[in-house]
Symmetry: C2
Subunit: 352 residues, 2 copies
């Protein structure tokens, strides 16, 4: 107790002090503070309580020099102001913390190439890297592999690149929307694309268009959006409305574009869903707001996060043993008020 009261001036409390107080070995103290070590919950709690009472704090940084582990996972994430990514970050950070690790967040500045970012992160000897809303060059992927640095791409993959990746099954999601719109009687669906080069956009478009074709709709109008943003959705919808033939449904490559599109349609006096049905992709919290009520594909974020963190093999070295894989997880369609059944649809017929 004297030690506790005078800890400001006395020399720092060491693991040895805690071990002596409890009558256990120093390695027990060390295991209690290691997120992946084998130790009973009861012993761990006793150690943590005593350590806290004595004012002991392990220096994980110093320990990392011996274990070669910092227990830090780096997340690289741009587009924080897109409503989708904060939800991902919230889930990722909490999941990483729940496994006893910490998150080093890197937000690239606009136009900053990822190949300039990774060397900085590697200086911090992080245990693993999650790349969300950012992509990686093959040179950098090779560099990480050489350093045996676990790396996972989140929400995208790079075709032909030997890197772990987790994403929603975007082809299946696009197909699901096609099935849904055709079953509810839509005959003139349009796709408004997002970021042209992103796998998310290309896969959603490919799934949608190919399934429509299988269902007998061979001419699906594609309007380029150019970006996953509110403004891009608004502007693309404005261009679309100048066309001679008006669609009866619009599938936007992302929710945030759909919000821009819905605001444009309403300004133009077009009723949703009476005149045009609207479908998005992501199911961000705003999609459920009364002002939008957007039918959309829900990305399975909890499962995607768990799969990504599993792939990193934190503390187990599993990552190194497995060949790079791309894991695609099915999303689900969430039906809200932005879509309706057209007269004579398959669904309305079935109901009679």
């Amino acid at each position: 107790m004297t030690q506790h009261g005078s800890r400001k001036s006395a020399s720092p409390i060491t693991a040895e002090d805690v071990a002596r107080r409890l009558g256990v070995s120093q390695s027990t103290i060390s295991r209690a503070f290691s997120p992946t070590a084998s130790i009973s919950e009861k012993t761990k709690l006793r150690v943590l309580q005593t350590a806290n009472a004595l004012g002991y704090q392990p220096n994980v940084i110093a320990r990392s020099l011996i274990t070669r582990r910092t227990n830090i996972v780096a997340i690289v994430m741009a587009n924080l102001t897109d409503p989708f990514y904060p939800v991902v970050l919230d889930a990722l950070a909490q999941h990483i913390q729940s496994r006893g690790f910490q998150t080093l967040l890197f937000v690239p500045s606009p136009g900053q190439a990822l190949d300039d970012v990774l060397p900085t992160l590697l200086q911090y000897q992080v245990d693993a890297v999650v790349l969300a809303s950012a992509t990686v060059s093959s040179a950098m992927a090779r560099d990480c592999a050489e350093r045996r640095m676990p790396l996972v791409l989140f929400n995208r993959y790079v075709p032909g690149l030997e890197v772990h990746a987790v994403a929603c099954d975007n082809v299946a999601g696009g197909r699901r929307v096609a099935d849904f719109l055709v079953a509810s009687g839509h005959a003139r669906p349009t796709f408004i694309a997002g970021e042209a080069e992103a796998t998310t956009n290309r896969d959603r478009q490919r799934g949608f268009v190919s399934r429509l074709s299988e269902l007998g709709i061979r001419s699906c109008l594609i309007e380029e959006g150019g970006a996953y943003s509110y403004e891009a959705g608004y502007d693309a919808t404005k261009r679309l409305l100048r066309q001679r033939k008006r669609p009866d449904a619009i599938f936007y490559a992302s929710d945030v574009q759909a919000f821009g599109g819905m605001d444009m349609l309403r300004q133009a006096g077009i009723r949703i869903p009476h005149d045009i049905s609207v479908v998005g992709y992501d199911d961000v919290p705003l999609a459920a707001w009364h002002g939008y009520g957007l039918t959309t594909i829900r990305q399975p974020i909890p499962q995607m996060v768990e799969a990504a963190v599993d792939m990193l093999g934190l503390g187990h070295g599993d990552h190194l043993a497995t060949a790079p894989t791309t894991r695609l997880i099915l999303g689900t369609l969430v039906e809200r008020s932005s879509t309706t059944e057209r007269p004579g649809s398959a669904r309305s017929k079935n109901r009679r």
Copy 2:
């Protein structure tokens, strides 16, 4: 060049190798990699290019044991799914990075007390802590002070607590809204509160109500919101509409509540701003969307971020020399389509 080609198998490149190649001292190499060291831009660039060509990477973690600096700033942030905080995080992380530091992000799980979080962060020997959307107990503030750990509260302060804090001047913001609504002819303004105990909420309310009183409006209806959320704004507005007397303007303690309120008002067939003007607080990106067009107080995030990072005294130790201060920065009113001038307002009279 042989070194470069064979770096996988050879022993790691050291600072000595880089120094030898350039014909400079090892301390020059060290300074080139230290964000706060004095070194010419030209020399720094030469070192970084050569280091990169040779494949040299300083181990900042190992160095931290000598310098007692990790060059890591911890940010504690909950409420990532509130549209305000991702904007703050984006600005904070980029600003911290631009000063050569990295960000350790901690997202408390729901209900997790901050006093349980800080000991974990302190294990990582971070150089400083920014607490955003989280508050701190006096015991923990004392603990940080004893460890000489720079700590800044962002967007809130704790009255009576000796801790650095940066926030928008919320009293002045509330007063500004009162001035604006009265000048534009509103006679029955209402305040819908946010998180009851937060200084942000109390200060906005206090400024609004006291200024209204000075302007001759002594009875301002207050409706408790309970939380800074869309649902809270929606529900409070629903309760408000059950009152006998309808307001002609509603000031919401935050934008996200105002969005919920606007969606409720529209569902009830109330026209914005024709029947009721709506004002928010924050100026999140959504406030500018066509579907909302929300008049609001813009929080000066770039200035708030800069002030917070300055207070941390990163790499300078300035923080330790200055007494804890609370810095309040003025916001600005951004006028959009959710407000209008009532007939006979001071502004419309001036115009004639």
